[in-house]
């Protein structure tokens, strides 16, 4: 009994400390939401809370003047199409590695995995020149084209496909399924949890990308993504922080929603899938 009360006290102390630290950790987000509701005048006094949470002027101005509506649409198209293409490429390659034996199989496999060893930032300048030579600057394709290859995703899918019993494919072949119909009707439906995780992660990664979209869309402001857009809402001369914070809030909504969904998914299926970028 005595021991039980001691653990109870220990646990509540630990919980309190943990929650306190947690609030400090997410404080920048709390600050951001509060700041977004401040009027420009209120923002001049650096208190945390706004007068009320009913002032929506910053959001309106960010969406209209800052053109964030357009940028949000740009980001959605880029993240959605980019993620889809990336997944399709990975599925096709993973299928070949899981089901076929061929010459140079290992070489091809390591050539694809080797792309993970080279950080994308190092390639920035040269890829920019390639994309400009292909006349893809300031286009959606130009922004997403460098993210079509994801060795990590290909690898995860290969592992998943390999764990599917071979009999399944043989049975499907006897039923007259070719490779594509087997893939669409059998393999992908049973791999749905992995596919969902990969899709969500990929979407967040592409949605959050900054440096590449910035340089590819540099000369055409209406092609910017939202992550580039929010950094253009202020300058050293004109700080406008309340506007910036409203823009940041808007940009965070999709990734926060997906993040919460992913956390729930991860609790169900372990965190194996969480390591892929």
């Amino acid at each position: 009994m005595k021991r039980k009360t001691r653990t109870l006290i220990q646990d509540s102390v630990a919980s309190t400390v943990a929650i306190f630290l947690g609030v400090i950790l997410v404080f920048p987000l709390i600050y951001c939401v509060c700041g977004a509701f401040k009027t420009p005048h209120e923002f001049l006094t650096p208190t945390l809370l706004p007068g009320s949470f009913s002032y929506l002027g910053n959001f309106e101005e960010a969406l209209e003047k800052g053109n964030l509506l357009r940028y949000t649409a740009n980001s959605f198209i880029i993240a959605l199409v980019g993620t889809t293409v990336r997944l399709i490429f990975s599925i096709l390659a993973a299928y070949a590695f899981a089901y076929y034996d061929f010459r140079f199989k290992n070489l091809c496999f390591f050539l694809i995995l080797g792309t993970m060893m080279i950080p994308a930032d190092v390639l920035l300048a040269t890829n920019y020149l390639t994309v400009s030579k292909l006349r893809l600057l300031n286009s959606y394709l130009g922004v997403m084209i460098v993210s079509f290859v994801s060795a990590a995703q290909m690898f995860m899918l290969r592992q998943r496909f390999k764990s599917v019993p071979k009999d399944m494919r043989e049975a499907a072949q006897i039923d007259g399924y070719g490779d594509i119909s087997y893939m669409i009707n059998v393999l992908l439906p049973i791999s749905k949890p992995v596919l969902t995780t990969l899709f969500v992660q990929s979407f967040i990664t592409l949605w959050n990308a900054y440096l590449w979209p910035l340089i590819v869309t540099a000369s055409s402001p209406h092609m910017r993504t939202i992550m580039v857009g929010i950094t253009k809402l202020n300058s050293w001369e004109d700080e406008n922080y309340q506007l910036v914070l409203a823009g940041v809030c808007i940009s965070l909504i999709p990734s926060l929603v997906l993040f919460i969904l992913m956390r729930r998914n991860m609790k169900k299926g372990g965190i194996d899938g969480a390591l892929v970028g």
Binding site: D11, P46, L92, L124, A125
Partner: protein, 297 residues
């Protein structure tokens, strides 16, 4: 017999064609957007490259000598190494401490686990804008709350520290999650055994739990090292062209400026390759260290 081999032959040809088509997209894009630019960047670093990125001749080590002789290169190198040397150990210490605190499952666990991991969902540019506002010397909350009078991102003395606070914050969520799942994967019996033996909690942490999660610590070390060496976005977004920007320039932000502001692709290539080699060197060093210190079960 003869028809059998032709059939087999034909089937093999068909397989080859299928495999080719399946691998074509990823291989094509991998070669065009990863391997080609990588080799081209190495070649550029030894070439005379004009402002349109076209090679105009062999330059030997001229680009390298020019870059290494620049004062701002030495500074950028110093800043990059400082960021890596400060960021990595602090991130590891913070995330291990939080994971140890959150390890035991309690009633409130879901709440603080959620809070600890939430920064994961925030993008670099969003975080930059929030921190820039929060640390603003005039209207920022930090100076007001702590009664400070610091310039943070706007002063040469504090800019690098402020950048470090931001990059460390960005890394906490994901790495905490890794540490936590590693700690929770330690078999219950081992912890119970230490309790039966009457080993103090502190000793248990340093002698049992940390050695057992050392592979994860090693993974966090390597990935964060690479990320820290590549730091550029905070410098580009927050510092921009402000007067304090020279106090935070990193190799990668200098690469960005030389490539996209001054179209000096030779300089940009040297900076890229230098960063790559340094990062690779550190990673190899960590693997040597890993052999001696990391325990795999």
């Amino acid at each position: 017999m003869k028809t059998g081999t032709t059939l087999q032959h034909r089937r093999r040809a068909k397989t080859r064609k299928k495999v080719f088509l399946l691998l074509l997209p990823i291989m094509l894009f991998g070669i065009v957007f990863v391997y080609y630019p990588f080799i081209r960047t190495i070649v550029n670093s030894f070439s005379l490259v004009n402002a349109k990125g076209i090679i105009k001749g062999f330059a030997g080590l001229d680009n390298w000598a020019y870059t290494f002789g620049r004062k701002d290169f030495v500074l950028a190198l110093k800043h990059t190494l400082t960021i890596a040397a400060v960021n990595v150990p602090i991130t590891i210490i913070i995330t291990i401490s939080l994971a140890l605190l959150a390890n035991k499952k309690r009633k409130m666990s879901p709440l603080y686990e959620f809070l600890f991991t939430l920064p994961m969902a925030v993008s670099m540019s969003a975080a930059c804008m929030i921190f820039k506002s929060m640390f603003s010397p005039s209207v920022g909350f930090i100076n007001y709350f702590f009664g400070l009078n610091l310039g943070w991102y706007e002063s040469k003395d504090t800019a690098l520290a402020a950048i470090l606070i931001l990059t460390i914050w960005m890394g906490i969520g994901f790495n905490f999650l890794l540490m936590l799942s590693a700690l929770r994967a330690i078999p219950e019996q081992i912890i119970e055994a230490t309790k039966v033996d009457g080993i103090s909690p502190l000793r248990r942490i340093f002698r049992v739990q940390l050695p057992l999660i050392s592979p994860t610590i090693f993974f966090v070390l390597c990935t964060n090292l690479v990320l820290a060496m590549m730091t550029s976005a905070p410098v580009i977004i927050i510092m921009g062209v402000s007067s304090a920007s020279s106090a935070t320039n990193t190799l990668m932000s200098m690469m960005y400026q030389s490539g996209f502001s001054s179209s000096d692709y030779g300089l940009a290539a040297v900076l890229s390759i230098t960063t790559f080699i340094l990062t690779l060197g550190f990673t190899i060093m960590s693997f040597v260290f890993e052999k001696r210190k990391v325990h795999y079960q």
